[in-house]
Amino acid sequence: MAHLQRHCLVTVGATVGFKQLTEQVLQPEFWDFLSAEGFTSLRIQCGPDIGWASARLASLQDRVPKGLEVAVFETTKNLMMDEMILCKAWSGSRRMGVVVSHAGTGTILDAWKVGLPVVVVPNETLLDNHQAEMAKHLAKEGYAITSTASYLDLQGAIHKADLLWEDNKSRWPPHTIKPQKASGALRLWEMHPQEVEKEEDAQMTND
């Protein structure tokens, strides 16, 4: 059997960047870890940090392990279809990869939609701590693993994300039409003023 590709995508959002995270995933030690885990590609979307990130990558080119490709890019028009799709297993050519992301909701929703293991790294330096709150929620619901922006933590988190993925697969068979039917959320198309009121009444009698 041919050697399977395995992709790791790191994404920090388009506008503000996330220097600490970009720095850590540009550590040769992190690359060695990925290589040992069978990853063949690390792609880092680093937004405004692209300048120094590409310079650092160029200066460390001889430290990139054999069999691993490391690339940095600023942003892409459609992160989901252009990049995330590469992290998805594809019979005969790719193993399931992983997405490492700041806790931006757009990225999280995209990764969920594609069906990928996710490691979220909240950007603690942002003023409002919405990202930390989101990260906590994702971890609690079992949608993602959280990590700090340190490559050692990231390595542990990538291991855990693999395990969580296997676990979720057995809980939510990936090929059902309604993977989250059990979540019990209302359906948009069925929301009418009267029916929502009825729903409320029903809930009240349940309480």
């Binding site: 998805k88 989101m134 309604k178 948009l188």
Partner: protein
Amino acid sequence: MDYTLFVLGSGGHTKEMLMMMDDGTCAFANTHRRYLISSGDSMSEHHLADYESRLQALCATRGTSPGTHDKRTVTRARRVHQPLWSTPLTALLSIIDIFPALLTPPDNEVGRALRYPGRVFSNGPATAFFVALAVHLLKMGYVIPESCCKVIYIESWARISTLSLTGKLLLYTGIADVFVTQHQEVATRYGVQNAGEIVFNSRRLDDLEPSPAKC
């Protein structure tokens, strides 16, 4: 027959709205969807085109009708980082565009029969509030009947513990007919209904036929 208006707020909000819509529902015979998009929001345009083409594909495999749709562009009520003081000005421009979008029926059978949308779905940001306000004003002036244009506001999935500014405005003015959040914590804090994580009703890539995954 059914005619529904969707306010597509901005990249992130639009993504959520379309995920909530893309729940596998595909029986849309005699229904019309109208989308309100803010000027210059190419991201929403792109996501919308994506949604509609996935819906067409689903309907084709199921042998159902996707119904009809059109879109209207309105001036954006408030750009990100725009100073709050200047918001009333752009909001005024925005609301001027919103009236014809609400009042001009779709140019098809559904539009001729129904004239006005039955439901107006929105999930933020600011434009959502101004659409709700426009509906309210039109009803106050007896321009449109009370029974149409029911405003259904779904707070963004990103809001776990507090409401967005738009959410607060709609809650305190009481001009939304339905107001729900997607997390229990924020629902409890403001005493509103939690509808659950509606975004996760969305189909996933594996559910799509044919699979768009490339080698």
